[in-house]
């Protein structure tokens, strides 16, 4: 579904990504791990269109996307969450979801001004859909709370809900469990599995190896902007190069 070929990204003279090749098959949950500063977030940014690779190609469903703007990539069915939560803080939880359904709606300002019947139907439909999503993630209680006033866990969940609201085929999760306790992490794991059941492809960046082992079909390991290893979670865990990369980092 998503293919990266020799993707590189240079910042000034510094290569954050160096000829990365990746294939993410449809319907699978793929993990992406690596030590801090390995270039994971840069990679996600390149895929989601917030950044563009210096060279190389990225295709989504055989369409090249590495030069497209973020909103056009989203239109092709991709959504993402952020490592450091980036919700719309001045909006309520519900409004955050409504914004994310932008691509699903069609009403223009003119519709809204003239109180076009279709506009009302669409608003109602969007609200219903948003409520369902909030329900699924256990956020219905806080739908009218400003995003900035939500608890940390709720904010993380709202980010996932917002990503799902765009009705994606591919979802990129950037450390969805960062800062969560074991129970919350477990819940996130369940949600990822639920996504897979609904046929959504997931690329998840994680540090929590337990979660990776629980949900991922395969794992890419990134180090210094290069793919170090690929395989199922158990395979990767035993890969000596991976162990060295992590241990080397730790000592």
């Amino acid at each position: 579904m998503l293919t990266l070929q020799r993707v590189s990204r240079n910042f000034g003279g510094l290569a954050a990504l160096n000829a990365v090749d990746m294939i993410i098959p449809k319907g699978q949950v793929i993990g992406l791990i690596g030590p801090n500063g390995a270039g994971k977030t840069t990679l996600l940014n390149c895929i989601s269109g917030l950044d563009h690779p210096t060279s190389g190609t990225i295709t989504l469903n055989n369409k090249p996307i590495h030069r497209r703007g973020a909103h056009r990539i989203t239109a092709l069915g991709m959504a993402r969450t952020y490592q450091n939560i980036r919700l719309f803080n001045e909006m309520t939880a519900l409004q955050n979801i409504l914004v994310a359904q932008h691509q699903q709606g069609h009403s223009t300002l003119l519709h809204s001004l003239t109180q076009w019947p279709g506009h009302w139907a669409e608003e109602k439909w969007m609200r219903q859909r948003a409520m369902t999503l909030l329900d699924q993630l256990g956020l219905q209680q806080v739908q009218h709370v400003l995003a900035s006033n939500l608890s940390y866990g709720d904010q993380r969940r709202l980010e996932i809900a917002r990503a799902l609201a765009a009705d994606p085929q591919l979802i990129l999760l950037d450390e969805p469990t960062a800062g969560m306790n074991a129970i919350e992490t477990e819940q996130v794991g369940q949600q990822i599995l639920a996504m897979r059941e609904r046929g959504i492809t997931v690329l998840v960046v994680e540090h929590d190896m337990a979660l990776i082992a629980q949900v991922c079909d395969a794992v890419y390991v990134l180090n210094f902007g290069q793919i170090l290893a690929y395989g199922t979670p158990p395979e990767v865990k035993q890969n000596p190069e991976v162990i060295e990369a992590y241990l080397g980092k730790e000592t």
């Binding site: 269109g49 703007g69 973020a70 909103h71 719309f88 300002l109």
Partner: protein, 456 residues
């Protein structure tokens, strides 16, 4: 078509005129004569025009330039072609909007201060071009390359294109003899329609997209929002509104000159929006109205009015982060618990009293506080003292009332003023009197509010 629209609008305008009459009379008694009210309303429109761009995260200062374009289009149409207000408005907005498109496309890639400065540059270029339009028009007309393009355009503006000297914008002298078509009712109806438009925008897909862009442009993009498109739409809409305000302005002042729409105006427009508050669409309207009214209300202060206007601007920016409208939003008061609530109530009260301490209301036919230099200084020192008092009142661990002494000050103020009015010492119960009373009451109320002990 035009006639139909006219016949539909006319009854509404007549009705508005009738309804406005008593209000205008009342306003005139406090020093806001009808022309002043008109300028207040125009500036409210300008406030909205910049709000549209700010609301989309764009710090654009181009609105004075678009206002100039609107004003000149309106003036040329009415003086040269006998256009009506409606036609002038339509074309003024259109031309401003059309010019905004090629300007916006490249410029809106810039952010923050860079965008602000680029748009200031745009405004200055517009001003300079208008100033030298007649000379430039002759240059273009006579040039081999641009002549064929320039001629038909110029033909729209003057009868005799081949004259030795073209007189279109008339340089620094400006266009005079512009008919006065703008009526207060027009502005009120325009602003009401605009308010409805903004209200709808707020609750629509497009409005949400714009708000999202303001809060986080990149995340908004990855929610599938076409950032460039919406930014340009907002920019063009802002330009059209500024153009409309320009048309109204030109058709109210009988004469226009380029320097009226320069950098100073751009800064004023920004101040309207920020002062009123960018939290919602009411802010810029309120800001435009207030900031235009303040110097007129302070007319009695004569040469001190400029300083006081500046002080008020500064006070609001420093002590009311969300602008005037933040006072109207419940969450402003609720956030931060009862202690913060009490603090805000008292601050608001002091600011209100501060606003009127310089307004003319009379005791014994002499002015208390204000007018005289030292009265002004002492009055403002009292206000600043009160503000510091409110600011540095500490939250006590055991809870209790916010500040009983402040409550005392507030109650004394209220009692004193009611008593003075009862014994007839205040013979002219102006708006300032009531505002002062409310302000003092708020100070008292805020001081009295109690808050619980801190949780451990």
């Amino acid at each position: 078509m035009w006639g139909l629209l006219d016949s539909l609008l006319q009854p509404i305008l007549d009705l508005a005129t009738q309804l406005l009459e008593p209000l205008l009379e009342r306003l005139a008694t406090v020093g806001l004569s009808e022309p002043v009210v008109q300028f207040m309303l125009m500036n409210a429109i300008l406030g909205v025009s910049i709000y549209l761009t700010l609301n989309c995260g764009m710090f654009s200062l181009a609105n004075a330039g678009f206002m100039a374009i609107g004003a000149y289009v309106g003036a040329i149409l009415t003086t040269q072609h006998g256009a009506t207000l409606g036609e002038a408005l339509l074309y003024g907005m259109l031309v401003a909007g059309i010019i905004a498109i090629p300007v916006g496309l490249p410029v809106l890639r810039l952010r923050n201060i860079y965008l602000a400065i680029a748009t200031i540059g745009f405004g200055e270029i517009v001003r300079l071009i208008i100033l030298h339009f007649d000379t430039l028009a002759v240059e273009f007309r006579d040039s081999k390359i641009f002549g064929p393009i320039a001629r038909p355009i110029l033909k729209l503006m003057v009868e005799d294109v081949d004259a030795r000297r073209l007189e279109i914008t008339l340089g620094a002298r400006g266009i005079t003899r512009i008919p006065v078509y703008t009526e207060t009712a027009h502005l009120v109806v325009f602003l009401l329609v605009l308010s409805y438009f903004l209200y709808r925008l707020h609750h629509s897909r497009m409005g949400r997209a714009m708000a999202a862009i303001r809060q986080d442009e990149r995340v908004a993009a990855s929610q599938g929002i076409n950032v460039v498109y919406y930014k340009n739409v907002a920019f063009v809409m802002g330009a059209m509104l500024a153009g409309a305000a320009g048309v109204f302005n030109a058709l109210a002042t009988r004469t226009i000159e380029p320097k009226a729409y320069g950098f100073d105006k751009a800064v004023d427009i920004l101040a309207y929006a920020v002062l009123g508050g960018l939290g919602n669409w009411l802010g810029p309207i309120l800001g435009g109205l207030t900031l235009t009214a303040i110097p007129e209300l302070l007319r009695e202060l004569r040469e001190y009015s400029g300083v006081v206007t500046g002080v008020i601007l500064l006070l609001i920016i420093v002590y009311l982060p969300g602008g005037l409208t933040s006072l109207m939003i419940p969450s402003f008061w609720r956030n931060g618990g009862r202690y913060e609530f009490a603090k805000r109530v008292t601050t608001a009260g002091v600011v209100l009293v501060g606003l009127v301490n310089v307004l003319p209301y009379q005791i014994d036919n002499g002015r208390i506080l204000g007018y005289e230099f030292w009265g002004l200084i002492i009055g403002n020192m009292v206000i600043v003292g009160l503000l510091l008092w409110v600011r540095y009142t500490r939250q006590r661990q055991n809870g209790g009332h916010f500040s009983l002494p402040l409550m005392g000050v507030g109650i004394t103020g209220v009692v004193l003023f009611i008593a003075l009015a009862l014994v007839g010492k205040i013979d002219h119960l102006a708006v300032g009197y009531y505002v002062h009373l409310i302000g003092m009451a708020l100070v008292g109320l805020g001081g009295w509010i109690s808050y619980p002990a801190e949780e451990r």
